[in-house]
Structure formats: structure tokens, C-alpha cells
Amino acid sequence: MAPGTFPSGGDDVSAIVLDPGSSWTRAGWAGEDMPRSVFPSYVGMNSDHSTSVSSSAAMEEDDLVVDGMFSRRRPKNPRYSVGENVVGTWRPNFELTNPFRDGLVQDWDIFEQLIDHALYDLLRADPAQHPILFTEPAWNSRDVREKLTEIMFETYNVPAFFIAKDAVLSAFAHGKASGLVVNSGGATTSVVPVYEGYAIKKALSKQMIGGDFLSNQARLTLQQHYNIQITPQYLVKRKAFVDPGKAPEAVYYDRPSTASSFHRYQVLRTINDWKETVCQVSEVFFHEESLAGRPAKSYEFPNGANNTFGADRFRIPEIMFDPRLSIPDSESPVPSDALGLQQLVQNSIQSCDPDIRTVMYGSIILTGGNTCFAGFTDRMSNELSRIAPGPKLRVQAVGSTAERRFSSWIGGSILASLGTFHQLWISRQEYEENGKQFVEKRCQ
């Protein structure tokens, strides 16, 4: 057998593509246009009292597992719950946790729950039969990569494995072997120069201002400017219609022993919907008075509280370009070295070799859910042409929101489905001969 090939009985076996992010995990089959499933990267910790209370979705999955068509290699750990419906369903003392810190896997036990859910519950696949391609951030550590390689071969028994840098996949998916990938997700915003298919690690820049930070800022703004306390749907039994700006007159559930992590997650989800519905980036320099003249948008929260939002709907995403607009908050403070995104881009490009800076300015790629605000692309172009007037600029963002949110998964899906890519996988044989260190050599 040639190095890097894996046994596939005549017909090619489909590979699985997993793209775990700090907020969402995307999972699906290589060769498909979109991930089969996108689920929150949060794992619920069942307390002793709540293990017996399982949502209908979870029950259904259990039924299918015992139904003989498919057997889970590992039984479900009753301590954990994963999946959009499950983590969204209130139970007493139900804590939610997330395995990532700074975009890297920190808690492997929790991380494996996400992988198990993707493979066994959603794709109903036996990983021993399918090569698996993972995505990773460009700043992933050697330890994490080696550990993932080891787990894939030892625990999941995969026939072949590959790990690809999400920035490189995004650049390729935009038709670029070289370009500057600006990725703003839930926890992190990163700027990664990609040159000839490789991420330039020494020139990447990132900071912890992403969608979650903006959501917290939105929470504070709604509280301070509109006297709106975010009350997520799980607390609302019945809402009543009230006039804009008036106190809500809803009937609430009594939910004692709600875990604070569960409540925080629900608040975040509620605000995300507000952000996606009303927020927008000012195409030109933020000027409160002139933005106040733009049409306002109204929004009603789950408990009926509602209002129209004018300049503030521009102010929240503006924090991406000017972090000094943030409202001070001791629980989620602005990083002291926070920079506007345009400055982050500029710094990354200036850290690149002078010969390739023009290529970078000419191929700026926007990806990640937090770049989906209307006006984001135009504003980015305007800011950059102001601070870097010389070079020819081109800011690229694909039209469809799905492609922008999933570009690294889609890139991985195409790559892993190519017949010619088989020679690049780390095969089981190569892993056994060279050990987990081989990932550093093969997956650069």
C-alpha cells in the first residue's frame, strides 16, 4: 500500500469533516456542500438530580443507538448532555461548559463529548470506517495537535486523519493560495496571513473581542440606555404586548436552582438574535449624530419588552473598529491592548515580508459569523484605505451568510473529498510507524 493511502473496499469511503469552533461545532460528510449539523460547542453537566430528566431529543437518539442498525463504540456518559435542543432545555442545576480557551482545546473530556455527539448521534458513523479531517486555528499548539492525533487513532480508531488550518481552508475556498484571512467568531477575532497555502504564524494577530464580547456590550447598553433586562425565553411563560419603552408585563416561570452558566448562555443566545436582527456597521466613520438620522429598527424581546434602536444599533458592532467605545465591565473587561480591527490587519501585514504585503492588501478575506453585519465589508475597505492609502485594496466576502460562517468547513469538505487528497492523509500505518509527532510533519 502506498504511503498515506487507507483501505477502502473498492468504492471510496466518505471522509468526515469536523470544524469545532468556540461557539459552534460544524460536522458533516466530505463532498457535501454544507455541514450536516451545526451545534453549540457547549456541554451540559447533569447534576445527580437531573440525569433522569432527559429531553425527548436525547431519548430518541438513545433508541436509535440500541436499534441494532448502528452501535456506538462508547456508551453515552450519563454525566453529560450535548446538542442544540438538549443544552437549550432548562433543568435545575444544569451547568453548561465549553472545552475551549483562546480557541484551543483545554478540556479534553468535554471536547470528546462534542466529537462523540457529532460522530455517533448526528452522523451515525463508525469512526473506524471513515477518515476524519479536523480544522484548527493557525495558533494551535503542538501539544493539542499531537494529543488530537493520538485520540483519533487510539480512542476513535480512525483509518486516517488530517488536520488543516482553518485560515488556509478559508483562503482556498475564496480561490486564493495567498491572502489575509480575517476571521471573527464568538470568542476570538484573528488575522492570519496565508502565503502559498501556508499560514504565516509569526505575522498573525488576534484578540479576544468577538461576538460574545459584543453581546455582553449589547446587554449593558440595553440595560443602561433602555432599562431592558434580558430575560431569555426559558423564563417566560406568557408575554403581553406593551408599548415601546414600557416595562414588560409577562408571566414568568419559577425556575429555582438555575445554574448561572445556563442562564448566561441563554442570555447570550437572546442577545445574538437582537444583534443579528437590528445591528449594522456604519459604512463610514462612526458619527453618532448623523447615524441617529438613519432609520431605526424595532425589536421585541421574549418577555415583550420592546423598543426602537437608532444609533445604538451601529454602536455595538462599532466596538470592533474602536474598542474604546466599550462600556467598562469588570466581568468582561476590554483587553488593555485591544485594537481596532483595521489596526490588527495593518499590524499583521506589516509583520509580513515586504515582498508579499501588496498581495495581502489585495486579497483580504472576511469570514466568521461576526463579520456578517451589514456594512462590515464596506467599512473594512474604507478604514484600510484610510490607514494604508498606497496599495491596491480588495476586501472579499462571499455573499451568502452560510458560506461566510462555514467557509473553513466547506473548504475541508472539498479537500477531503478529492481522490488525490488520499496521499496526504496520515494513515494508521504511518501513525503506528512514526507516532503522534508525525502530525507536525504532515499537516503544516
Binding site: 482556498f172 493560495a177 501556508y198 472579499q396 472539498i414 479537500l415 478529492l418 488525490t420 499537516c443 503544516q444
Partner: protein, 138 residues
């Protein structure tokens, strides 16, 4: 990271003929239909820059090598340019595989002066390319 796509040996032969024998004005390369190999789309002996631009499909990717001729105060100059053509309207699969396979072809084309990564006609326009070549020769 690469796609593992292979380069048909004829690709290199026509490149050598363009470079050493000046046999071609330009060569356009493409992926084979099964996406396993890079093959010649067309090798054109005599053609203008306008004809070259017209040979790039509106909604699919290509690579190309062009023997770029321009005049300076010191006389006529030749520079071999390598183009990666990837219009926004191309299918994402095409964009992905072309971008991930470029290096396989590019590293076989020895003697290229510079590369042009282009997504629309303004980026392949003679004047844009001429400016870049001039800037780099200065």
C-alpha cells in the same frame, strides 16, 4: 497544504517551448474533468493580450502563463508571467481545488518573473499588469 493534484507532463513541455523557443504567446491550463490532473486548456502561438483575456472563462478558474512583452526606453522586454484566475462567480469547489493545486503547477514553471492572482478583469487588465511589472523591474 496542497490538494495532491498531479501535473500532466505535457504542461511542462509547452511551458519550455514558450520560455526557450518563444513558440507560444500564452498557455492556459485547467484541471481535468475528474479533478485529478492539471492539463493544457490551450496553447496559443499568436495572440494578443485581449485574446488572452477573452480565453479566461467568466465563471470558472484557470491558470495561465503569458509571455508579456512591453516597451521601455531601452527597447522591448519579455517577462514570463503566471496567472491564477479565480472569478468570484466560479463554483466554490472549483475555487478551492484550483487554489490548493496551484503550487504543483507553479513550482514546475521555472523562470516566471511574477505571479498575478486575479478575480476580475480589472486585475488582469494590461495596464494593471504592466504597472506591476514596471514597479517590480525598477
Amino acid at each position: 497544504m496542497a490538494s495532491g493534484v498531479d501535473v500532466d507532463s505535457e504542461c511542462l513541455n509547452v511551458f519550455q517551448d514558450l520560455k526557450l523557443k518563444k513558440k507560444y504567446a500564452y498557455i492556459v491550463y485547467k484541471l481535468s474533468d475528474d479533478m485529478k490532473q492539471i492539463v493544457i486548456d490551450q496553447a496559443v502561438e499568436k495572440g494578443t493580450y485581449e485574446e488572452f483575456i477573452k480565453s479566461l472563462p467568466k465563471d470558472d478558474c484557470r491558470w495561465a502563463v503569458y509571455d508579456f512583452v512591453y516597451n521601455t526606453s531601452d527597447g522591448e522586454r519579455h517577462k514570463i508571467l503566471f496567472y491564477s484566475w479565480s472569478p468570484d462567480t466560479a463554483r466554490i469547489k472549483s475555487k478551492m481545488v484550483y487554489a490548493a493545486s496551484k503550487d504543483a503547477l507553479r513550482k514546475k514553471c521555472d523562470g516566471v518573473f511574477t505571479e498575478i492572482q486575479c478575480t476580475d478583469l480589472s486585475e488582469v487588465a494590461f495596464q494593471t499588469v504592466h504597472d506591476k511589472v514596471n514597479r517590480m523591474s525598477a
